[in-house]
Structures are given as structure tokens and as C-alpha cells.
Point group: C2
């Protein structure tokens, strides 16, 4: 794992001769491997702005011939490098085409609110961006690099793609805007589709947009493909257009105070008439001294003589003419203060204007000016937002800046302040100078198809029409230039593999494929055709992008990531959080379903990148999140042992390694994975004998081996290898200290010490018994699979057969739970579970069987139940002989001959037995006294007898589970104990010895 | 922690005499403490249905006098105990009042879809409920007990409260429904408020509803308060009303085939006329052979003579009469197949009926039948859903059932199937028999203010009117009876402390306060007054409740909770998941903002209960979630060491305990908490000397002590006490094996072995050096705070002063990062950071200072920078003398006299020095050969000299951070090493010795 650090060459530095300097003799050992401060600092001089981490991008940049060589001129100041580009990107087509309309619909006050919300959002995002920019050396390559290097591939990729999609749709929006200007205000006669009926107007316009838009897009794509360098050169020209246009608005507004321009609008009653179908605004005209019907009359009435066969509303109301631009001195502002939202198709009406209602009848709608879409605060937010985006334009030039860390915050914030002031003043001026119905008239139908904002401007409306057309075209070109480059950069980072093709380009590095994709996506936007529909889409993507930036900043602060030390003074996490909230609110305000879709897309990108496991050497500021999450989850857990309901085996598997550090019994892991403990905790522990100071490397190697084996056996869990002087001590420590907080093991899985009898070294079985004692002391459960090599692998399937449980002592229910858990695994799924229990002389075996069945029913465990009756010790002699033979080292492994000991205890027999029993109690009591002396003999009897019964019934079982007897209290009996266990499990293929941890693990309650 | 297990009396059982039975001698040790199988099984017989866990509730129940004693009659079968109660609860007022209207608006097909969605939702929830009911012994006390005992207090409380709120609002809905029936269909003349104008009709009705509703609510509350036992007795009566009503619908539908009832509706054009203001459905009537204007004429025209001063639409269209109930044989079904949603205030029109449009003019609206609310698929879902709720009625009787585990699933599912079939058939019959405009006519205005469903019924509309009125009143009473009891049960569980007051009741256990609250909440619903507004609210709560049930089941399966073994065969987690999704979808479909609010409320309840830390002995099935979360989070982490950007100190604090197991230096913990490592990982480790088998208890006690101390010092983290034969070994093991997966410590905090010189036991410092070696071997960083007792407590505040860093060797940047982290804590916040570095003869100190400042700027760390120049060893003799004096055990602690060694290195001097240096390299090289012999002397020189410089500059610093020299390779020099450290730190109040872990921990990149 190569670290992205400034100190890569530590070792090299150490090789210099000056560490023999006597003054630092104390630190000789350190100086061997670590650099002295002075030599380190000397190297830092070379770092400046262009540092190793960024070099690769620099190279990528330099092969990308079209962009200016960054190394040539990192000399731009705040004004040229950040302020002006930001300004140019922020101002856009919405200001000219929709701001008047917005003011008309929402009123001045709500428009202020919209502008305020949107500007706050970008301002707060800029503060977050500034924090990112001042948190370490800023790489060249723009905001995408800045964000992705700072926040990691997941956030970087998501932000980058959102930004890309936003920019692409912005391109589409600019093209649509340009065509709207062209076809509505410059050359309306160029339209290809003409409305054939009254209701057809808008769809004809949309089709015009689609055709012209596609043509424009193609043209622009060709321009970008051929001569991208000219696009950037014209940037200042475009900015000039914008500035001149805005100035002309201000000029017009000032002029309107004393000399308002002549834009009369014709009203019928309080309804606004569309001006394009008639000339004179009157019902009659006096022509040759004769009063004849005007054109208007003809439109509303079926005939031209002045009889009454007319539209009723026309008859009832007067035609009047009012000033479209009353000017700032007229006090029209107070009419425009409040909102006036309209439904689709409503007629624009001037409030308080005299009007006689014709009984709700609405005819001849095509003669009035209508609202073409339904408006509301929410809709307007979505449409306005694109005019505050573009705040990343400054950051995108990070490579060209003399002092990026200072210029980016100052320049961007100033640009936002400037543009916000322009918007606020424009809202005010429009509200103060223009008549409400004209404001609400989106396409200037009432003012002779003039651009509404143009009517206010001075010296001529054409200033703005032409200015906005060129600036809009320019902005479109810039979007089409920028977006493919961004996509190329993301693709080259290779964090989203399926984008790789877009990383390639022409010989000169031009991103041909990326341009193609961009054009295709932009074409989607153009096919939507309506500016008012495209704007919310790109709002969504930009908001998403800003949301991520704010979120990442807030998270880093709240996690106290040590590396998050932004130098930007005015940064505070609460601002980022507020910014994030505003972004979220704006998204849901403008359209909650778009918002959900956008979040889904961004979330999917994030998860996809995470899933792809993009291991970038940039690191990320967010990884701390998973650490915090893990810590939080662990701290929550540490509330004591879980309820019986939640008990699940949390395994500590003690693995033996051979001399070559290979796993000796990998089937132990297989068994652990089959226990479905995967859903609980599995820790694989192992001990290496040796001295820690010397065997650290060996331990690491062993850990790696075990991890590989865990991958093979599909055990999900943790691995812990310790080095200890004695294996027993190591195991004792593992048992004590594995796990963390609430994530502790409660069950130890231990291998059987095979061949302990042959081994000359008694340590093998002493370690075993020691471990058994340890688990008992630590109140842990213990599982000892014997003949573990015969256990099935994960690929085997047992299609039949039984798992037999010999339930001799109730030990917390482990014996019942384990087969249930095993049966969850494919290998054991088809096995049947049988539970045997041993009836004594005094037990009513029939009742016992019934009780056992009820018990298992309540435990919801399906199992066949059998009660095995054992005769009293009739073969004492045989057993003793056997015991003696064992002690004489005679390895007689012959299977004991199973006898048919099955009897049926009838009720009578049982009762009589009980009577006998009660008298016999005294006799049994006497046995206590002889216990210490004869116990071993008696135990061996039990073992032999039990083994006989078990082998008899379970010799063909797939697995036999058995209570494991406890180890003797004093170590003298250790060897006998091992013998007992051997005898008990003799002749069984697969045995699992189970010892409970002293608590209940299964319950009949839900 | 008392376990809720069936084996509580283990010890007692063990005391029985029969474990001396010889056959089990092998398990003697186990039998001492654990029960033998046979004796255990014998006890199980007593368990049956009423088990310990439920006893408390039983007691609670039995004090609650009104309910039947469960122990008396747990004898109800599926039919009486589950099926009929469920039926009665599911059928409700919506069927009678809104189903026809729904079919009219949504059409038969979409109505089918609505019914299907809602019924699927309840069916899947029932399957989940069945799984819960068959997962262990079912407690008496109803669904709330079942769910809370199974899923834990959080889910239980949230589900319970949602269920309570749903039931309460259902009560309000039933009351509103009853009043609607009363005032619209039975005694319209009883209305208090009368519409004063045309637009006033609905608001007058709402006010009537409010007044009558409040009266009804009061009456019902009194009935419930006084005579709750009668309410339950009338349940069968209410059910009978419902059944009779439904049967009369079927009868009417069959009759309509051959003899449709006479309900003519009067149409004007295609518009439906409201029948209540005229009698004859014609424009004119022939009276005394003279054609005179009818009443209808008078309504539409201003005068009664037959001239044209009339409503235009009236003139243009004919008046016609069509059959309201054409009958099933008429084929009207195909007209009603498709949806016909209306906006608010739209006139009900019959499609395809001849009509001449009067140019969009709509007058005299009050004469037509209008749609009173806007409808859509979504709205109808919300209104219909309450008619499928009530599925928990069967589970609520769990205590009364003979075999709850069988009856609940079967009975509930059958009830849902029955009711679903009724709904489907009703939708079909309504669509097939009733004219569309009548269906859409909510209040039967077109059919003489008859209940629409009543017009279809046979023998009389009154059957349904009366039947539905009584059943609705009954359902309201039942809601008001059930809800307070549920609230009382929740309050008695004490999982939501602020509800405690509602746990109290009258002397006979009646929940008085709960009834009061219920009535108040129901009053809220009544003030809303519109059935169509209240229905979605209760839908929301029920859906929320069902959502939780499904979620909990799905989660338990997916987590593979071992105790989750439902015996219900048809359960599958995918069904629960589907049910959950449908619930969620229905919530958002019917109203996304209500859904958000409901989820917020439920989430808040969940979090509140979680926060209150309700430790119930029931356990929960969901705690596995936190385990899984922790495991998942940990497994995610284990991806190798974090990036330098994310490096943060993860501390392992090695704590020394004294003989009484008290913490010796608690300030080590204070220091750890001040390092804000709280956001990283903190493990407090300690070693107890001894044998693990014997000292387990001691270790537990020590752990508790340390945990208490951690709470006091506000260290959030984990504690790990191990028992080891030797302390050194224990520490080595802690260093090796603490932490889990990716949550491993990377920094060890170690106390200084104070008084090692005086101690006769060399182990104290040998352990120290051993630990230093261990951390080095394990590549961990090491922090040794010296004089830790002088470190500030968490309550102190340093308002001034410096943290001084002596940066001698670059050791990964720990020295820079630690003061930054410390300064995050209140204690150190106001301290200033100073960085000193030592310039050698050949260093350009001015350039060094500049470089250092740049470096720190890029690291974004604010610190004063100083370069200290050290003269060549001019005091060799002095140092050697000192060294000798140390070895002669002379404890000379006098402060060394600081000399003024500050010089300014000018550029020239530096250059000349460099020239000298290059020729001197050879000389330095020679030193290598003498290194082994003279190194100790030279090291001591360095230590003394460095100490002089440090004391000179930093004697008043709050904290001095210093590189810690590495330990000698061979153990011979150990004692010297300790001396070096003592000399180096002599005369400084608080020193923190820092040793890096061999990797970078700080970077200039963002």
C-alpha cells in the first residue's frame, strides 16, 4: 500500500551522512530509518504548489493538449482566475428569459425569497468548498480533483457525475434558451412548424425547439470537436455581452423614471389581449369618418357589422390601453409585491381593473394572453436555481492560480455576492418598472412579441436580445466543452469501470467519446424541448452535487477527522449542515419525485463505486465514518450478555499450525462455517511458540495463511495470531482477551489431540485439558469435534442420515441448538435430528418420551425422540478388565459387542421399581463415601456402557453430539480423563463433544 | 440479570439425590450443578400454556376485574375465539358508507386493485403475526404482549402505540360514520346547522358532525366507564347487524336481476340533478290541461312563464329520467369498469348521455349533484384501508384460546379470506347493479337522500341503514373499550415512562385516565369532522403498526436469530418483506406527508424507548441487529491500515493496578480522554499477575474498577484485563491481541516506572523497556507521559501557556499531530503551540525556520516556529563527569545551568560552514569505528546538552513533547537507557515522550 505522503523517500534521506552528528547521538537508532528535521525541511522547498500526489494528473493534463499547460502559467490572480469566470458561469439565460416572468408570478417578495434561498445555498456550498480548498495543498485539475482527492473516490465519483450530468443538461438548457430567443424574438418567421389550431401553439413551438435544438447541438458539438481553443478565447466576449445586457437593464430602469418607454398593452376588461393579431386597440375605428369595426371586433364577432353576434365578454367590457412599462416612478411596485400564481391556461388578468364577468363563460381563449404552465413557488424555485449554479468555475482553474487557497474562497464568494446583488436589484427593478400582466407574459405576447426584459432596457430591446443570444450560445458551447473533459477525468480515474471508454480521446487528447456521450445526453434534454422542464432537472443534479459537498464537510468535522483542518476562517460545520439542509429542502421543494430519483441515482453511484472497491491512493476523509460506526456499534453492544433469546454461538476456533505455518486441521474452519456462525462472530485464534520480538514476521505470515484458509472455507470473521513462550499460555490469553467489548466469543472450538497416547510429549494432551479447564473457568461453552477430518466439506451434501443427540445432562440446551444451527447449512439440511436420552431405573420412560416430545414441540425443534433404558451395571467385571487393559497400554480398539438392552418399561414395572428404589436410596447414599476411591472405576464403567449404547443406536449417524464430561478437579486424573473420553467416543465416526457455558442458550418462549 | 428461562431452578434440581446413579457417574461433576434430563422433563409437564414468563401479566390481568379470568376458561375454539371477532372487527362503516362511492370513482377494476392491495397487506401481516404466534409459547394478553415479548420493548412500544392511536382514531371514525348515517339518512331534520348559502352545505354538515360527534363521544365514554361488560356482550349483536346487512345486499343484487328496484334519477343533459328540491323530473307539467312550468323550471329560470330568461344549459338540454339501479342484468357493469375520478365541485355526469355544451358555462351548481372532494386512486386507498384493519382481534384473545398457536393463524387468515371475498363480490355487485352517477353520489342526493348501498338492498333500504348504524355504534364502543386497555397495558410495562399515569385505574382496575386520554384524542378526530379526512389518519397508524410487525419478522429471519424458529409452515421472510413493502407503498400512496409524519412519530417512539434503555426481561429478537451491525462494521474496516489522511490515535492504555486492584495513575485515563481519542478507539488494558483458573473473579473485579474509573474520567472505550503469570508476558499479549479486526490500537500509552532507581526489583524498569521493545516490534506508536500526576484534570483550564514540541527526528509527524489533537480539548484549547527544532553546524537556520513555517502552513497547524542552534560539544568533560556521577549513584538532581547558546546564523556564516563541512565529512565517517565503544558516553552528552537547551526554552511550558530515543538493541544497555531518558527529561514538569510507529500520520494533502 503505497502512501501518498510527502515523506516517501525517508530511507533515502536516512542514507545521508550527517546523522552521525554528535549532537543527536541519542537518536542514532531513529536516524537510521527516519529523516532528520533539517534535511526533511530542505526537501519541502521543492514542494510548493505542485506536489507528487498531483503529478499524475499533471501528466494527464499535459497530454490533454487543448488545455493550457498548467506548469507554464500558474499566475492568475483572484480577479481573472476566479471572480470573472464565476460571474460568467453564474449569469445565464434564466436572468433574461424567465426572471421577469418569475417576478410577475411570485411577486417581488416571494421572488426575493427564492433568490435568497438559492443564493444562500450556493454561498454555504462555497464556504464548504473553501474549507476543502484550504485543507491542504490544492491539486491542479479543478473542483472534481479537489473534491475527489479530499473526500475519497465514492463521494468524488458521485459528486463528479452529478456535476457532469448537471453541466450536460445545462448545455441543453442553454441551447433551448438560445433557440427560444431566436425563434420568438429575432426571426419568428424561421419557425418550421406553425400552429394549426388554437390549442396547437405550444406543441408547434416545442417541435420547432426540437428540430432547431438538434441542429444547434450538432453544430456546437462540431465546433467543440474541431476548435475547442477558440471557445475559451471567446469567454470574455460572452461575459461582455452579459455585462452590457445587465447594464442596459439598469440604464433602462433609470430612464424609465422620467421617460418610460412606449409599450402599450391592450386590455379587454381586465384581460390581457395577445397583440399579434390586430393593430388598433379599440372596438371600432373611424375610417373616412365612418365608424367601422376594428380588426379586434372581427376577431371576437362572427361578422363585421356592429350587431351583437359577439362574444359575450367582449360585449360587456371595454377595450382599454395601458402602459406596459409605467416606469419606476409609477408606484406599480406595490401591485407587484404579492404573488399571482396561475393555473395552466388561465388568462392573464390585471387585478382591480374594471371588468364585467360574463357568467363564467370563457371563449376565444386564443385571443388572450394565457399562462402556458401552472406555476407555484415550488415550480419557480426549480426554474430559477440554474441561474445561481456555476460557482465551481473558479475552483476549476485551481491549476492556473497563483494562490489557489486564497483566490478560490475570495473570488467565488465575491462572485456570488455580486450576482446575488444583481438578482435582487433586478427583481426589484422589474417589480418597480413593469406592469404585472407584462411580467407574467412569458413570451411578450402582449407587447408585440418583444422580450419582456428587453422592453425595459435602454437604448434598445435589441441590446438584450442580441446580447443574451450570444451569451447563451457561448454558455452552451462552454458546457459542451467542459462536460466531456470532466467525464474524461472521471473515466481516467477509473473509479467507475464501465466509463473507461470515455477516458480515451483523439490523438491530441480531445475526449471524442465523452463528447459523443455528452451530446447524446444533451439531446435528451433538447427532446424535452421546454426550458421550464429542463431547468428543474439540472437544478436537481447541481443541488445533489452541492449536497454531497456540504455533507462531506459536515461529516468530516463531526467525525473529528484529524486531517480535517481547513484554514478557511469562516468555516463551521453548522454552515455546511445548514447548506446541506437547504440543498435537500430545495430539492424536495422543487420536485420531490425528481429529488428521490436524483438521490437514488447518486446513491447508486456511491454504492457502485464503493462496491467496486476503488482503492485509490488518495485516501478519503470519510473512511472515519466506518470506524465511528464500528466503534458506536461496539459500544452499544457492551451492555452485558445477551438475552437467552439472542444467544448465538460466537466462536473462538483454536487452530493448530504445523511447523511450516500451515493449518493442521482446516476442517475445523469448515465446521465453524457450517455452524452458520457466520451470522454471529467467528474469531480464529492460533498460537505460535516463540519470542514476540523475533517472531513478529512469522505471526504476520501465519495470520495471512489463516486468512487465506478462511477465504477458502468461507468463514467470515477475524483472525488473531499471538506469539507466546508456551502454547498453553497463549491459548489462555486468547481465551481471555479475544474479542472487543460486546463482541466476545462465548464458545471455544478446540481440536482433539490426536495420537496423544502415542506421543511421548505429554504436553499435547496437557494443553488440551488445560484449555478445557480454561474455558470452564471463563464460563465459555466448548465444542470438541473428534475425527474432524471425517467431517464433511462445504461441497458435500448429506441427503439422508441422522444427527444424533445424546442428551445425558441438561447443559443449557447447547445440544438442542447446535443441530438446529447445523441444519441451516446446505450440507446438513436434509439430515434428520434424533434426540436420545437415557432413562434410569427409576424413570418412567414412556412419560419421559412424551414429555421430551412436548418440550421439543415447544422449542419448535423437529426431532425424533427416543428414550434409551440402561440396565444397571451388569458388566462391571468386563469394564474393570477393560480399564486394566487400557492401563497396561494394550491398544485394543475392537468395537465392543453391542448387546440388545432395549426394554419397554411398563407402567407397573415402573411403579414397582419406584417402590424398590425408595428403599434403595439409603444404599446409594452410602456410595458417597466410596466415591473418591472408586470413582475412576465407576466412571470407566459408565463410559464403556454409554459407549455401547451409543454405538448400538448411532453407529450410522452422520454426527453424534454428546455431553462432554467435566475435567477432574485435580490434575492427577488428567490421563484417566483422556481415556474416558476415548472410550466414550470409541467406534463413532464423527463425534462432537459439547460442554455448556453454564447458562441457558435456548428457550421455549418467543 | 434474571433470565427468563424454563430452567431457573437448575440448582434445586441438582440437589435431588438421584445423580449418584451409577450409570451417569462420568457426568458427576455436571450433575452437581445441572439438572438431569429426566428430572427436567418431569417439570416440563407443569408448563403447558401458562408459564412463568407470563405470570406477571396474568396477575396484572386478574387485578383487571373487567376481563374474564384467563385461567378460568382458556377454552375458546378457532371459530368463536378468532374467526368471528376478526370478522366483526374487519367489517366496518366504510363498507356501507363509502364502498359504492369508491366503485363509482375508481371503477370496478381499480377498486379490485385497491381491495387487493389492502387485503394483501393484511394477509401478509397476518402471516408475520402467525409466525410470531407460533414462535414459542403464546402469552395471554393479546397482540401487544405477543409482539412486545417477542420483538422487544422498542418495537413492542412503537407497535403498541401505533396500534393504540389507530384504534382511537378508528373510534372517532366510527362515531363520525354513525352520525353521518343518522343525520343524512335517518333523521336529516335533526341537523342543528343548516346551509345558509349554496356553498355552505358542506361546512354546515361538518359543524353538525362536530357537535353531534362530541355528544356521542361523551355518551360512549360514559357507557364504557360505567358498564364496560355490556359492551362485550353486545358484540355478537353487532356482528349480526353486519351479517344481515351484507346478506340484504346480496339478496338485493339477486333480486335486481329480475326486478330492479325503482330509484329513478333525474338528469339534465348528462348532468345529475339533486333530487331534494323538486318533485317531478320534467321541464313542464300538464296541470288542468295547461302546460305550466315545473318546479325544476322555476329553479333554473328567474320567472315561471315559459320564456327564455333561463340558464343556458337548461334551455339547450333535455330533462330525462334514468334508472338508478338498472340491476345486474342490465350490463351497466361495462360502463362502471373504468375509473371516473372527479375534481372537487365537479358535476356528476353520465358519459355518453346526450348533452349540449353551453360554451363552458356552469351556473346553478347547487342544483346538481357535485363531487365534494377531489378523488384519485391514492385518496381512495387511504379511505378504504380502515375496512381491512382489525386483523389483530383474534390475537387479542390469545389468553382465552384453547390452542392459540393453531387458532390464531387459521382463524385470522380465514377471516381475511372471508372479508376479502365479501369486498370483491360487493365491488362487482355494485358495479354490476348500480348506475355510475348513483355510485359516485356519495350522499345519495340523486336518489332522494337514500343510502346508496341501501337502494340496492332487499327487502328495504332501512335494513342496511339501521344495521349499519348499530354496527357502527358498536364498533365505536369497542374501540373506546379496547384502546384505553391497550394504553394501560403499555403504561404498566413502563417502557414509556411518561405514560405511567395511564397505568392506574379505578379500584376495579378500569383504566380511567387512559379512557380520558383516549376520549381526548378521539375528540381530535371528531373535530376534523370529515370521515374522508379521518380515515387516512388511522390508515397511517395501522399501516405503521403492520409495517413494524413485518419488518421485525423479516429482520429476525435475515439475521438468523437462533431463537426465531416459527412453526407456522407458510412463513417465509420474503412474504414479510413483501408485506412491509406493501405497507410502505400504501402509506406513501395514500399520503406521503402523513406517511413521513407517522414514520417520524413511530421512529421517535422507538428511539425514545431505546434511549430510556428499557431493560425488560423479555429480551428482544432485534438485539441481534446491533450485533450484526457491529460485525458488519468491523468486517468492513478490516481492509488494511487506514490512509494517512484518516490516521488517528487508537490508544491502548496500559494501566497499572495496585494490590487492592485500584488504578495507580488515573491521570493516564484523563490524558487519554483529553487526546480526543474518544472519537477513535480507546482500549484500557491491564495485567493481573496470577493463575487464570484461580483469579478469574479478581480479573472481573479489576475490570469493573477500571470501567468505573473510565466513567469518571469520561473515557469511552473498552476494557481488557488479562491474568498472566508474568506481567511482561501479559503486556506482550495485550499489545498483540487487543482489538478486533480493523479496530486495532496503533498507539500504546505507557506510564513511566517512577522510582525505578530506588526500587530493588529490576522488574519494574525491565517491564518498561520490554514494553517499549514490544511496541517497536509491533510497529506501534508509543506515548510515555512522564510526571503524569501533574497532568491537568478534565476540569482545569489552561488559559495561557505553551505546548512545546521538540522536533528532533521526524518520526511520522506524531509530534505535530498530538498537540493539535490535545488542543481540541477544553483543557488545552487556549494553549499555544511552539515547535522547536535543533539546527546543526551545517544547517542554514534562517532557511530552516522559513521552511518549517511553510511546512506547518501546509499542514494547517498554527504554531510558533523556532530553530535552536546547538554549539558543538563544548562541555564534553562536564558531561562525562556527570555521567560518572550518575553511575556512582549520586542523586544529583540540581538543575543544569542553562547557558545562552542562541546564535544567529547569517547566510555567509552558513555558507562558509558548509564548505568546512564538506571537508570534514571524512572525519565524521571515522567516528563509525569508535561508535560501539564510546556511544554511551556520546549519548549521555547529547542527553545532557539537549536537556539544557530544552529546559532553557521550555521550562515554563505546559507540556513538552519530545522524541523518545529507541531502546538499545541488546539488553545490556537497558539501565543506561533509563538514565538517558531521566537526564533528557530532567527539570521539566510535564513531558510526553513520543515514539512513532514507523509510518506517516500527518500529510500536507487534503
Amino acid at each position: 500500500h503505497k502512501e501518498n505522503s510527502p515523506f516517501l523517500n525517508n530511507l533515502e534521506a536516512g542514507k545521508g551522512g550527517d546523522y552521525y552528528d554528535k549532537n543527536l547521538a541519542l537518536f542514532e537508532e531513529e536516524l537510521d530509518i527516519r529523516p532528520k528535521v533539517s534535511s526533511l525541511l530542505g526537501k519541502l522547498v521543492n514542494y510548493t504548489n505542485l506536489t507528487q500526489g498531483v503529478k499524475e494528473h499533471e501528466e494527464a493534463e499535459s497530454t490533454d493538449g487543448s488545455k493550457k499547460k498548467v506548469s507554464k502559467s500558474p499566475s492568475m490572480g483572484t480577479l481573472m482566475g476566479v471572480y470573472l469566470p464565476c460571474m460568467q458561469n453564474i449569469f445565464g439565460v434564466i436572468l433574461f428569459l424567465r426572471l421577469t416572468w418569475m417576478v410577475g408570478m411570485a411577486g417581488v417578495l416571494q421572488s426575493f425569497l427564492i433568490v435568497l434561498l438559492c443564493c444562500c445555498c450556493t454561498m454555504l456550498t462555497t464556504i464548504s468548498m473553501s474549507a476543502i480548498a484550504t485543507n491542504g495543498v490544492v491539486p491542479a485539475g479543478g473542483s472534481y480533483f479537489m473534491i475527489s482527492r479530499s473526500l475519497g473516490p465514492e463521494f468524488g465519483g458521485a459528486v463528479g457525475l452529478c456535476f457532469y450530468l448537471g453541466t450536460t443538461f445545462a448545455g441543453a438548457m442553454y441551447i433551448l434558451g438560445a433557440i427560444e430567443i431566436l425563434l420568438t424574438y429575432i426571426v419568428p418567421q424561421a419557425a418550421i412548424f406553425h400552429p394549426s389550431g388554437a390549442h396547437d401553439a405550444s406543441s408547434a413551438m416545442l417541435n420547432n425547439m426540437r428540430v432547431y435544438g438538434t441542429v444547434f447541438l450538432l453544430l456546437m458539438a462540431v465546433v467543440v470537436f474541431v476548435g475547442v481553443k477558440y471557445v475559451n478565447k471567446f469567454a470574455s466576449l460572452f461575459l461582455a455581452c452579459v455585462v452590457i445586457s445587465i447594464l442596459s437593464i439598469y440604464a433602462g430602469a433609470i430612464k424609465s423614471i422620467f421617460d418610460p418607454p412606449e409599450f402599450p398593452i391592450c386590455m379587454l376588461g381586465n384581460r390581457t389581449l395577445s397583440r399579434d393579431q390586430f393593430d388598433v386597440c379599440a372596438k371600432t375605428i373611424v375610417k373616412d369618418n365612418i365608424t367601422v369595426a376594428s380588426k379586434l371586433w372581427k376577431l371576437f364577432c362572427l361578422n363585421t357589422n356592429l350587431t351583437t353576434n359577439c362574444d359575450e365578454y367582449f360585449l360587456l367590457n371595454n377595450v382599454s390601453e395601458i402602459a406596459g412599462i409605467p416606469g419606476a416612478a409609477s408606484g406599480i411596485l406595490k401591485d407587484n409585491l404579492w404573488s399571482n400564481y396561475l393555473e395552466k391556461g388561465e388568462i392573464l388578468e390585471k387585478a382591480h381593473h374594471p371588468s364585467v364577468d360574463a357568467a363564467g363563460q370563457k371563449n376565444n381563449l386564443h385571443l388572450y394572453v394565457l399562462s402556458d404552465i401552472a406555476t407555484s413557488f415550488m415550480v419557480l424555485v426549480g426554474i430559477f436555481f440554474p441561474s445561481v449554479t456555476g460557482i465551481m468555475a473558479g475552483s476549476n482553474r485551481s491549476g492556473d492560480l497563483k494562490d489557489a487557497q486564497k483566490s478560490i474562497p475570495i473570488g467565488t464568494i465575491l462572485a456570488i455576492v455580486t450576482t446575488s446583488l444583481v438578482y435582487f436589484s433586478c427583481v426589484l427593478l422589474f417589480g418597480a418598472c413593469i406592469e404585472g400582466v407584462v411580467l407574467r407574459d412569458k413570451y411578450g405576447d402582449a407587447v408585440n412579441k418583444n422580450l419582456v426584459v428587453g422592453t425595459l432596457s435602454w437604448p434598445s430591446p435589441w441590446v438584450i436580445v442580441i446580447g443574451s443570444f450570444f451569451s447563451t450560445c457561448g454558455a452552451g458551447l462552454q458546457s459542451l466543452t467542459g462536460a466531456p473533459r470532466l467525464l474524461q477525468a472521471i473515466a481516467k480515474d477509473n473509479i467507475i469501470p464501465f466509463l473507461w471508454v470515455f477516458g480515451h480521446g483523439k490523438a491530441n487528447g480531445e475526449p471524442t467519446w465523452a463528447l459523443l456521450l455528452t451530446a447524446l445526453i444533451a439531446e435528451l434534454g433538447i427532446l424535452i424541448a421546454s426550458l421550464d422542464m429542463v431547468a428543474p432537472i439540472l437544478s436537481m443534479f447541481f443541488l445533489m452535487c452541492y449536497l454531497f459537498v456540504n455533507l462531506a464537510c459536515a461529516v468530516q468535522t463531526l467525525l473529528r477527522t484529524p486531517n480535517w483542518r481547513p484554514r478557511f476562517k469562516y468555516y463551521h460545520w453548522a454552515l455546511s449542515f445548514l447548506g446541506m439542509s437547504i440543498c435537500l429542502a430545495l430539492m424536495f421543494i422543487s420536485s420531490w419525485y425528481y429529488a428521490l430519483v436524483a438521490m437514488l441515482i447518486a446513491g447508486m453511484i456511491y454504492k457502485y463505486i464503493e462496491y467496486q472497491g476503488a482503492e485509490k491512493e488518495w485516501g478519503d476523509g470519510i473512511r472515519g465514518l466506518s470506524l465511528s460506526a464500528a466503534r458506536y456499534a461496539l459500544l452499544r453492544l457492551e451492555e452485558g450478555p445477551p438475552h437467552t433469546k439472542n444467544w448465538r454461538p460466537q466462536l473462538l476456533v483454536l487452530l493448530k499450525l504445523d511447523e511450516d505455518l500451515h493449518v493442521k486441521y482446516p476442517r475445523l474452519l469448515t465446521f465453524a462455517s457450517q455452524l452458520k456462525a457466520g451470522k454471529g462472530l467467528t474469531i480464529i485464534g492460533s498460537v505460535i511458540q516463540g519470542n514476540f520480538l523475533e517472531t513478529y514476521g512469522e505471526a504476520q505470515a501465519a495470520e495471512q495463511t489463516i486468512k487465506n484458509m478462511m477465504d477458502i472455507e468461507k468463514v467470515k470473521g477475524f483472525c488473531q495470531v499471538v506469539v507466546a513462550n508456551k502454547v498453553r499460555e497463549g491459548i489462555a490469553h486468547l481465551i481471555q482477551s479475544c474479542g472487543l467489548g460486546g463482541m466476545k466469543h462465548n464458545t471455544v472450538v478446540l481440536g482433539w489431540p490426536y495420537g496423544w497416547r502415542q506421543s511421548e510429549d505429554p504436553r499435547s494432551w496437557k494443553t488440551f485439558i488445560g484449555t478445557v479447564r480454561c474455558t470452564t473457568a471463563a464460563h465459555l461453552a466448548l465444542l470438541v469435534p473428534k475425527n474432524v477430518s471425517f467431517y464433511p466439506s462445504n461441497h458435500e451434501r448429506y441427503n439422508e442420515g441422522n444427527i444424533d443427540v445424546w442428551w445425558i445432562v441438561h447443559d443449557g440446551g447447547m445440544l438442542m441448538l447446535l443441530p438446529f444451527l447445523l441444519k441451516q447449512h446446505k450440507v446438513w439440511r436434509k439430515c434428520k435430528m434424533r434426540i436420545f436420552t437415557v432413562a434410569q431405573m427409576d424413570d418412567n420412560s414412556i412419560q419421559m418420551k412424551k414429555d421430551l416430545a412436548t418440550f421439543l414441540y415447544q422449542l419448535r425443534i423437529e426431532a425424533e425422540v427416543e428414550v434409551v433404558e440402561m440396565a444397571q451395571l451388569v458388566k462391571d467385571r468386563h469394564s474393570i478388565a477393560r480399564l486394566e487393559s487400557l492401563y497396561s497400554d494394550e491398544e485394543d480398539e475392537a468395537d465392543p459387542v453391542p448387546e440388545n438392552i432395549q426394554m419397554t418399561w411398563t407402567k407397573e414395572k415402573c411403579d414397582s421399581e419406584k417402590r424398590n428404589r425408595s428403599s434403595a436410596v439409603g444404599t446409594f447414599r452410602d456410595l458417597i463415601s466410596i466415591k473418591p476411591n472408586q470413582s475412576n472405576v465407576r466412571r470407566m464403567h459408565t463410559a464403556v456402557k454409554l459407549n455401547e449404547v451409543i454405538v448400538n443406536r448411532s453407529h450410522d449417524a452422520r454426527l453424534v453430539l454428546l455431553n462432554m464430561p467435566g475435567p477432574p478437579k485435580n490434575t492427577d486424573g488428567d490421563e484417566n480423563y483422556m481415556e474416558f473420553l476415548e472410550v466414550l467416543t470409541e467406534g463413532l465416526e464423527r463425534v462432537l463433544l459439547v460442554r455448556g457455558g453454564g447458562r441457558e442458550v435456548i428457550t421455549i418462549y418467543s
